[in-house]
């Protein structure tokens, strides 16, 4: 809708600005809290403007953590989260690409049966199957390991479904042209299907990376070893680490750090992301 009346544009801007303020305020408070010393943060009223300790807090949070026993530095937690999110995102994408490829391009018995079975798992996210999954992971001895953190989250119906739809839009004649050119199934997959799904893969990567990064319940359950703590659950543990007063400055700094990688991924891949979700021409 194209409207040129100034009043409409003023009102819509006001609404947008209010929205941005509502979303931005907590982030601002987090940033402010991360730039004061621990003492200032315990006094009321809480500060609304940044203080001088930002880089000190950054150093402490990254390399020391809270400093007490059983607490981890944000550096280690960031690393753990990053590995987990990457493995989940890339794992989900590879598995779904291959399963979508199998379902769309190969004829095998119970093909649609398998498809619907994959589809049904949409109804069974980790939270629903958490006890049996925990049992399996524990019996396989994968507690406190990256494989335990990631494997149960990798199978993905959504991604399989999305790639299936993508592949279905690829004209059959392309496959036939490739066959005449002498490409076998895997060549066709790598040389043609994969590059053609590039933007879809990127879009999915953004979504899945954030999904993996934000995992909370599952890591909380299966990691007892402090060296495996991820940053999202780490923040919560910092809040509970209370021998003394909560060190809001370092906790908020850690929170800031936890927000950073997803933001970087979204900003960095924004173009591909939008293209992948909207592009229809093949």
């Amino acid at each position: 809708m194209i409207e040129n009346r100034p009043i409409v544009s003023i009102v819509s801007h006001i609404v947008l600005i209010i929205g941005v303020l509502i979303v931005g305020f907590p982030v601002w408070i987090t940033f402010v809290a991360a730039s004061h010393d621990a003492l200032r943060m315990t006094q009321a009223p809480i500060p609304l403007w940044p203080g001088p300790y930002f880089f000190d807090n950054l150093k402490d949070a990254l390399f020391v953590g809270l400093g007490g026993s059983g607490s981890q530095s944000a550096g280690l937690m960031l690393f753990n989260s990053f590995v987990m999110a990457m493995v989940i995102a890339l794992g989900k994408i590879s598995v779904s690409l291959l399963s979508a490829f199998a379902i769309v391009y190969f004829k095998f018995p119970f093909r649609m049966g398998f498809f619907w079975m994959i589809f049904l798992t949409l109804m069974l996210p980790v939270e629903v199957r958490i006890l049996p999954t925990f049992e399996v992971v524990a019996n396989l001895g994968m507690l406190n390991s990256f494989s335990g953190l990631t494997l149960p989250l990798i199978a993905s119906a959504t991604a399989t479904f999305m790639f299936r739809q993508t592949f279905l839009t690829v004209p059959d004649e392309l496959l036939e042209a490739a066959r005449i050119d002498g490409a076998g199934p895997m060549r066709f997959f790598f040389d043609i299907l994969l590059p053609m799904s590039r933007t879809n893969i990127a879009a999915l990567f953004v979504i899945l990376f954030i999904y993996g990064w934000n995992q909370y319940l599952w890591p909380l359950l299966i990691t007892t070893d402090q060296s495996m703590v991820t940053i999202v659950m780490g923040i919560k543990e910092m809040l509970e680490a209370g021998e003394s007063l909560q060190q809001w400055n370092r906790i908020m700094m850690t929170t800031l750090l936890a927000m950073l990688p997803p933001v970087l991924v979204v900003v960095g891949m924004q173009k591909l992301f939008v293209k992948g979700l909207t592009e229809t021409e093949k």
């Binding site: 036939e176 042209a177 050119d181 040389d191």
Partner: protein, 352 residues
């Protein structure tokens, strides 16, 4: 040398048979056009030659070799698809080179072949572009180029021009024909457009509902159609087919008109179809011996000629007359030259 022979080939999808025993012998260097209405099985037949569809029964050979169970890439063929099927993420160069890379040819050899094809098709300036940055005609050329670089024994075309506008279509028709002659390859070309079939083919295969109706040169197909289907499918406007009774002695009775003379050597008696092409009749403004009255209903002006929509007795009848002839204003009479008359059996649809 690559002759293609298709012997008693049948194709079924499940329990539905769509091709019912096709026999075609194609000589080396011949340009064969398979023509028929949409859904008659043209593409299926072509795709069986390409190896993209399995052969239910019968035998297809290319050169001396039976290829029923040979992979498409090993059949020494190349195919041009209706919507070109270019790889959208590859440059024009890579689109043409992809198959050659898979053949494990050397870099220089690939380069030479692609450059040669690009020159032949005037694509040199576009080699680094993506297909989406090309016009329809250019994409069509790239598809041709991809076929040419394979240096195949047989070219297969599946309605390659149907997505182009009329002008470009005429131009590409000539180019394809020239290329095929210059490269001295055998070509099988599928189309539903009878003009394409007539203008391009050495021989035409008319396909209808999974059966071969007739195989012959364009002139044979046009002048001696073997069936009512061929007579009415080939030629625009189509052949006039008037039903009536033949008496076996050179007379044909049309309801509402009376008797007309047909050649005496038609011995058939009974219900028959009298066929004559709109452009083969002679038009007069005065009644004379052996002419019959037409009732004019509509005139279509074509520039190079006119089409008269008329009635002959109770039947509709079209006449195509050259623009040099005056349109008779009072009275319209028609004569049927003996050698232009065809007679068909309405039951079997076959020529009598």
């Amino acid at each position: 040398m690559a002759q293609v022979s298709i012997v008693d080939v049948k194709k079924s999808y499940g329990s539905i048979e769509v091709l019912h025993g096709i026999d075609v012998e194609i000589a080396h260097g011949e340009f064969i056009v398979i023509v028929g209405p949409s859904g008659c099985g043209k593409s299926t037949l072509l795709r069986m030659v390409a190896g993209l569809e399995s052969v239910t029964s019968g035998e297809i050979s290319i050169g001396e070799r039976v290829v029923n169970d040979v992979e498409p890439k090993d059949r020494d063929i190349a195919m041009v698809f209706q919507n070109y099927a270019l790889y959208p993420h590859m440059s024009v160069y890579n689109n043409m080179a992809y198959g050659l890379k898979l053949m494990k040819l050397s870099k220089e050899e690939i380069n030479t072949r692609v450059d040669k094809a690009a020159e032949l098709l005037q694509l040199e300036d576009f080699l680094q572009r993506r297909p989406r940055e090309l016009s329809g005609g250019q994409r069509q050329r790239v598809a041709m180029g991809r076929a040419i670089v394979r240096d195949p024994a047989v070219f297969l075309f599946d309605e390659p021009l149907s997505n182009l506008d009329a002008k470009l279509r005429n131009q590409m028709r000539i180019e394809i024909r020239k290329l095929q002659r210059d490269l001295d390859v055998t070509a099988i070309y599928v189309t539903h457009d009878q003009v394409e079939a007539m203008t391009m083919a050495d021989r035409i295969v008319v396909l209808n509902d999974g059966y071969v109706e007739q195989i012959g040169t364009p002139s044979e197909i046009y002048h001696t159609p073997e069936s009512v289907f061929v007579a009415s499918f080939m030629g625009a406007p189509p052949m006039n087919l008037v039903s009536g009774n033949a008496n076996g002695k050179g007379k044909f009775t049309i309801e509402g008109l009376g008797d007309i003379d047909i050649p005496k050597d038609y011995s058939f008696t009974g219900k028959a179809l009298f066929g004559i092409r709109p452009e083969s009749v002679e038009i007069f403004s005065k009644q004379s011996k052996g002419s019959y009255p037409l009732e004019l209903e509509l005139v279509e002006e074509l520039g190079a000629g006119r089409i008269l929509h008329t009635r002959l007795g109770n039947e509709t009848f079209t006449v195509h007359m050259p623009h040099t002839d005056e349109l008779p204003t009072n009275g319209l009479f028609v004569k049927f030259p003996e050698n232009a008359i065809h007679l068909f059996d309405p039951k079997s649809g076959k020529r009598l």
